[in-house]
Symmetry: C2
Subunit: 527 residues, 2 copies
């Protein structure tokens, strides 16, 4: 019927959109960068995409993309506040953390998480506490809500609107959401907690650390996030509501990694691994850059960026880096917005912006110096470029551990490196052929899959809309209590039965023995 209507409408009104209506949850930074290609493809396939956009946003630019409809809403938090919080996060992660003990780090993490949570809830207020907006969304009759759960509340709104929900997620701290809300089994003996900097091959002490890491982060998450969210959700729904339970109702989790990057681990039918969605073949370079690249001769080039968050460094750091880069035979393209370092070599050029993907895909590129963001790493994997990591914060150190373990990168500690360390690392990943070979191996794994990550992501979003959900992929574990899940009640029952039987057996034996001996006693007495 829908198809028929579609054909009829199309014959009269060629501009009528006959696809489904997709509501997109607000997000920021690299999360938005990862969602955009999927949304663009969905629009391209005839769907109508509406993006919820808070009045205060650092990355979502309503004027940027005429492709999407935007649903702006006012929020009671200023751009300045948002930027200050981000600055605080970065400062802690890059400069403060290394001078703190574990307790201090966790106290600070809790403080920062609570601040973030307060901002998140203020943003969420802008949606769920606005009758006008909620009524508009209800009237919008959307077919699906698509969200990166990093900003909470999408599951609550999907639940209120009664529409299917698809998540796009890179990871959660110590896999908390995947394990507790998504019900993905993660035996701590070979599934390292996200951000633990562990690999899947763990020594005894690393396994001890991993278990404690899971436990500690679960406690932090419960204390500083979940309990607050539960309260908020309960308040909105007017009945006891668990945020994790609502999150667990997501139809599909599109995980932004794949087995080129991940250590293999158990997962569930509604978890789809679509890492590298944004990767593209390289386009030709702008003329000036191409000329510089070509001038590198056989030595080739090195591409260097610390990502979109870091535009500036201390003069000391910048000089240390520049001096290290000056000592390598390659030409270097460095994305950097700070003041030109004095020690900058003739082989190094600084750019405010570089076409990173096109450079990584260039035949002259020998290595990639990166902060270790997932997006950059995936571009390097896509093009098979070995890496030197200068991870700064968040998942970056952990990401670089993945690449180091897979033999495609060397990872350095940004706070303690010297220019010689940087020089040696770059030289090593270029001259030791194993790094290139491993990067090419990961690239082969990345490219050689039955369906491209973008197509797979779009497929499962469309599948969820076609079938009004994907509940046939949802494990029954969601409906069990923790003790039922681990069969503790069954074990207790079986143990009790065994003990009871043992007791009865003992009693019977004792009784028989007494009978036997008693008879003997009586016999002896009678004799």
């Amino acid at each position: 019927m829908k198809l028929y209507l579609c054909i009829v409408l199309l014959s009269f009104l060629p501009w009528t959109i006959c696809g489904e209506k997709i509501l997109v949850w607000y997000t920021e930074g690299s999360h938005w960068i990862n969602m955009k290609p999927v949304l663009e493809e969905l629009v391209h396939r005839g769907h109508q995409v509406t993006v919820l956009t808070p009045s205060t946003s650092m990355f979502m630019n309503t004027s940027e993309q005429a492709l999407f409809d935007y649903e702006p809403f006012p929020v009671e938090v200023s751009q300045k506040e948002m930027e200050e919080i981000m600055e605080k996060h970065l400062h802690f992660a890059i400069y403060e953390m290394d001078h703190m003990n574990v307790l201090q780090i966790y106290m600070k993490v809790i403080e920062l998480m609570e601040t973030s949570m307060n901002v998140s809830l203020t943003l969420l207020d802008g949606v769920v506490k606005s009758d006008t907006l909620m009524n508009k969304l209800k009237a919008g009759k959307y077919d699906l809500l698509f969200s990166d759960p990093i900003y909470p509340g999408s599951d609550l709104v999907a639940d209120i609107l009664g529409i299917p929900l698809v998540f796009s997620l890179r990871f959660s701290l110590a896999n908390n959401w995947e394990r507790h809300c998504g019900q993905v089994p993660a035996p701590p003996s070979f599934v390292p907690g996200a951000m633990s900097k562990l690999t899947d091959k763990m020594s005894f002490s690393e396994r001890v650390f991993n278990i404690l890491f899971y436990a500690l982060n679960d406690a932090v998450a419960e204390f500083s996030l979940t309990s607050k969210l539960d309260e908020y959700y309960t308040d909105i729904k007017g009945k006891p509501t668990s945020a994790c339970e609502l999150m667990g109702k997501a139809d599909i989790w599109l995980m932004r990694t794949y087995w080129d990057f991940n250590f293999p681990h158990p997962f569930l039918p509604n978890f789809k691994y679509v890492g590298g969605i944004h990767c593209r073949p390289a386009k030709p370079l702008p003329k000036d850059i191409e000329e510089f690249v070509e001038s590198s001769g056989d030595a080739g080039i090195v591409v260097f960026t610390l990502g979109s968050m870091i535009n500036n460094l201390t003069a000391e750091k910048a000089n240390m880096i520049a001096s290290g880069l000056a000592q390598i035979p390659q030409k270097v393209l460095w994305r950097y917005s700070g003041e030109k370092p004095q020690s900058l070599g003739a082989n190094t050029r600084i750019y405010n912006w570089i076409p990173q993907n096109d450079l990584l895909g260039h035949s002259k590129t020998k290595a990639f110096i990166t902060h270790g963001g997932t997006n950059g790493i995936y571009e390097a994997i896509y093009h098979g470029v070995p890496m030197v990591g200068l991870p700064l914060f968040g998942d970056q150190p952990d990401n670089m551990v993945h690449m180091r373990e897979k033999g495609a990168a060397i990872s350095l500690d940004f706070n303690f490196i010297t220019s010689e360390d940087l020089r040696d690392a770059v030289n090593t990943v270029i001259t030791d052929k194993s790094y290139k070979a491993n990067a090419m191996r990961l690239s082969a794994i990345h490219h050689d899959r039955p369906i491209s990550p973008l197509d797979e992501a779009v497929f499962w979003i469309e599948f969820t809309m076609r079938h009004k959900g994907a509940k046939h992929l949802r494990v029954e574990a969601h409906n069990l209590t923790w003790y039922q899940y681990h069969c503790l009640d069954v074990v207790a029952f079986l143990l009790s039965v065994t003990l009871l039987l043992l007791y009865l057996l003992l009693k019977t034996c004792k009784f028989c023995l007494r009978k036997c001996c008693g008879r003997k006693d009586r016999k002896t007495k009678a004799e």
Copy 2:
């Protein structure tokens, strides 16, 4: 280089095969039916497929398919012996089992498993104990071994030849192989053991049963299969060898189910669910059958088969069935090779063979009466036909539980039904529209996937050959002991540390208290 050679050769010898060389392990029955479409597609794609074929085989016919090369080998077991064993299995499952208690059943199961294992090892002797054959296989330089592990030994031979291994598996009893050798997590609280006849929604007592089912079958498998295989493998390899460990080295497990049939459960990156490989769109029917089908009018037809194993029934059973079928308004096509039952209705026709898939895909088909083999069920799912199950043995009762739970079938007990039960069941699945709706829902899930099951199976076989294995998909759990996997050593350590700390705390408190009180005592005394 290979590609270059290929192009050069092709330009001179158009008949030269430039694909990879695939060795296929011998198997029987529906296992062979399931492997054949994959092999045909592989041949179609230019690979050279060589099938190991024992001189005694009930299903593998070396003259049947000119597509494949055959590598026949003599075995010291006669066709008669093989058929007798199969007959014994069937007789036990269909007639004896219902009159036995659990202990008797398990004793019989162990006896039958041991007999089968002895035959399997005799077949295996034919390969690994024949120097001629082993040398020929080594010289053959195969790129991959493809096998259904139901006949053991393929992992041993893949190991000896040093080539990648891909399994095609429907299931193992209580998921023993998947859990223990494949390392797939299967929490017994929501993952029912294969053949347990349980669903993923279990009551407390069902969970107790499931745990006991797992434990009991693990013990049976260990006692009657694994220990013998370990001995055999150790003998051949000349060093302690675990069959399960070798099985766990398989690069890819192609599981012959999908989420249209399975209850959702955890799995691993090297497990691919490709159920329905053999399903095809319906072809036109032979003229006489088409005429009979068309003569059914609006009432439509019912397709009835008990599979390729059951060609005969007792006169009593056959009459009971015929009488039930005579009472339904549909025309019935019954695949049956026994004597024509006296009570056969005018609406029922008996055939030695029916084009099952083409009939199930016919628009007049209203229901499918089936023994519940996976292949038949998948054809019914493919075409969206509701089912009445008359499961007999093996996985059939369990398969029908899946279809019943998903609302697409009624399952009857073959040993205790009356003609009225059969009539009512067929009438119900036809008149109660929910059965058709659910069958169509499963059909939609079956068809609506990113890549067809056949293409997916072929993709992962070719992937494994292209990359000389798929070890990047293999979880680290394979390299852990059972207590490491469950972190029992870590838990013991953490518990010890906690107890030690508690002890020290108590001691310190006691010491302080004594110090304190002692001083007071002394003070009092001094006063």
